[in-house]
């Protein structure tokens, strides 16, 4: 009998609750502040944008939140997701390390995003909301929300950054196939969009502008709310199903991770895998090193400042205490669009400050090299975002080769690259550079903190 490649949970063993790490932390994270008063915001401040159930989850101090049966029913279309042992990659590296990856690319849109899009759509529908608005860059989050809205009969309206809308039509077509309406942003449909177009008719947009348009619509229109794909506590909460499944799968494998690596943009993929393992670490049941990996072009944790800042470029959101490069920082156009965020989940920032996790930044050339090696051994072409985790995983495995240590490495493979293949084309053609962030640019951007 050959050694196992995949560790698959039965549907009946799929976790039925999400894990909230907050009550297990040695101290609670600092609260969001109102930008005018600089006082902590309350639930009422969020009511125009989110349904009550999600606001309650955002501030809950309960350790576990039950997953509604209606959400589990949709999760079953692809969950539990597989945990793989990367035997062919291990062999290619010649490492004594055992490498595992938890693969979220089996979801309908090819990433971890539906784990939160589905409950967000469910709770909104349950409270009588009929339409959700959101922004999207390359389109991973927008397509996840479009799918989720299709399953609960909600309208979905997405403002997609004009540059991506024009250059990457596949994600837009996916959103439309799921029934969503997609507008290029800036659009003539909102005051925010019209103001931008008046000043610059050829604007190709930004995530900050797209957020403004989606938020403006949600706040003004009937039965309409807004949905966000990362950063906030309730989003990370929903993603913990990844780590809860992985813990059960490690039991099946009879193994325990020594090192856990995940890429971080807004933090939802990383937190989703890491938080349940952090619970085990805090309880003394295992002791993995937990390592966040970010792009050298957008090194929020490793080079940003831990300070109160806006979550969006235009300054419409509450102030969040987080590692930030400054809310008007625009990262160079690297291919891992999901990691190009000036800030970081406040919860992950807090945990990093507590010294419970590590962080490092890697340039995208090394990341694509890791992605190609992974594709040619394991068969899955990883999305540009998780190639950052894979590059760190391969670094660790090669260190083990030198030292002879048989470490167990777990990496979060949060999506595939089917709709990102032009990025691999650019890498293979030699048209990729690291875009490491210059000190002067960072200093200038941090000077604009509120």
């Amino acid at each position: 009998m050959a050694e196992r490649t995949k560790f698959i949970l039965d549907e009946a063993d799929m976790p039925a609750r999400w894990y909230n790490v907050v009550p297990d932390l040695p101290e609670p994270p600092p609260p969001p502040l109102h930008p005018g008063t600089r006082e902590p915001i309350g639930p009422d401040d969020l009511a125009p944008l989110f349904p009550q159930a999600l606001i309650a989850q955002e501030v809950t101090t309960e350790r576990y939140v039950d997953i509604p049966e209606e959400v589990l029913d949709v999760y079953r279309l692809w969950r539990p997701s597989p945990l793989f042992r990367a035997r062919r990659l291990e062999k290619a590296l010649g490492t004594p390390a055992r490498i595992y990856y938890k693969y979220e690319g089996v979801s309908p849109v090819g990433s971890h995003k539906p784990n939160t899009a589905v409950p967000q759509a469910f709770y909104n529908a349950a409270e009588g909301v009929t339409r959700l608005t959101t922004e999207t860059g390359a389109g991973q989050w927008g397509s996840a929300l479009a799918f989720a809205c299709a399953t609960f009969g909600l309208e979905c309206e997405v403002w997609q950054v004009r540059a991506s809308y024009d250059q990457k039509p596949y994600r837009k077509l996916m959103m439309e196939t799921f029934g969503a309406t997609v507008h290029p942003s800036p659009s003539e449909l909102t005051e925010s969009g019209r103001a931008i177009l008046a000043a610059d008719p050829g604007s190709t947009g930004s995530l900050g502008i797209a957020i403004s348009e989606a938020v403006e619509q949600a706040a003004q229109a009937e039965n309409t709310r807004y949905a966000l794909g990362s950063v906030l506590n309730h989003v990370l909460l929903h993603q913990t199903i990844i780590g809860e499944e992985a813990l059960k799968q490690f039991e099946l494998a009879g193994d325990t991770p020594d090192v856990l690596v995940g890429c971080t943009g807004g933090g939802s993929n990383f937190g989703g895998l890491a938080f349940p393992f952090l619970r085990e670490k805090l309880a003394g049941r295992m002791d993995p090193v937990i390592r966040a990996v970010e792009p050298a072009a957008c090194p929020t944790l490793t080079r940003g400042k831990y300070a109160y800042d806006f979550g969006d470029t235009a300054g419409l959101t509450p102030l969040l205490k987080m590692h930030t490069l400054g809310h008007d920082f625009i990262p160079d156009p690297i291919h891992a669009g999901g990691l190009r965020y000036h800030g970081m989940s406040p919860l992950i920032s807090h945990i990093y400050e507590l010294g419970l996790i590590e962080a490092l930044a890697i340039g995208q050339e090394d990341c694509f090299a890791a992605g190609v090696q992974f594709a040619r051994t394991e068969g899955i072409i990883p999305a540009p975002e998780p190639t950052h985790a894979l590059a760190a995983c391969i670094q660790e495995a090669l260190r083990c080769k030198e030292t002879g240590e048989e470490k167990v490495i777990l990496t979060a493979l949060c999506g595939h690259a089917h709709l990102d293949l032009p990025a691999y084309g650019a890498y293979l053609a030699g048209d990729i550079s690291d875009h490491a962030l210059p000190d002067e640019t960072l200093a200038k951007s941090l000077a604009g903190l509120p």
Copy 2:
């Protein structure tokens, strides 16, 4: 406990042998003929193109062929593939039918093609071949072979029809990421290509021309062989792992199919799912209706002639007894590129003549409508090819709604549409028509039979 959505086999239960339907048929299929002598061809005629192991499988009369451990080891990267119960689609249709789909889109390239690409690469490598050539249209087969060659250290050289090479760059990028070299066809690299370009410098190519280039290279170059992705017996043999798995999964589900539907182009997806069920039917252990579905634009089984014809447009192959629209037939440019073949697997043609399977043709508008309904309920956007099977499946389920019959329907979902999203864009924009084949065009094409 909720009713099950997925039926997952353990790796240990993955079938370890392929099934050859030939010895179970009431009479053997007619042999391929040499086009000059019209005598049956022998193994030597195929030796310049294929390794001995595959030639032996092409003509074997053994009921089972063991799958080599090296091939099983690669299969485990994605196999066993899931069998789903389409509960959400059933509910949307309001049908008493129970709909199951066997999903092959979990493979590295998103279709069933690696099931044969992997053993083909393995047997070639085992016999000292160092390079494989092939043709590809839209690129499903080319990317499967590129992946398979990466796993066994073979060079892979693909001639891709120029029109697809220029218009659909994502599949080319996938092939290159797996390490293959991709040439637009016609190319200056072969005599066949140069002849075409001399006559028509702007030629956008055809599958027939691309086959000629790949075959010419394989026959001339050192340690080089050719690989084909459908039609031949050994290809269908490798695909039977789909049906063998599905049989075990129906045991898990405690159900038995009454109707089995699959789309047919060259026949490998259909045969792969259907043959093991046909064995059970011939042995009297179950009695499913087995139904092949083809596009109205290329209705090989339903309107073609059962006759000896060439497998390629240029007339370089042996003569194959099959349902054909004539080897110089060029179907209208429908979006299901994998179903645009003038002929049919001789084995499936023979089985159809024996009355063991049914066939019907459906226009692509109905197929895309089925694809969109499936995406919005089940979450998977089906490739244009299997939307034909889904359209037939939905027809059957709606008949059950009228009659009240609780039929069990099994459909082959052979791939997803991530790299075919522009086809859905065209459908949603109303730019799709059926391209039903006119009688005169068919009559003219059939007049050219050898």
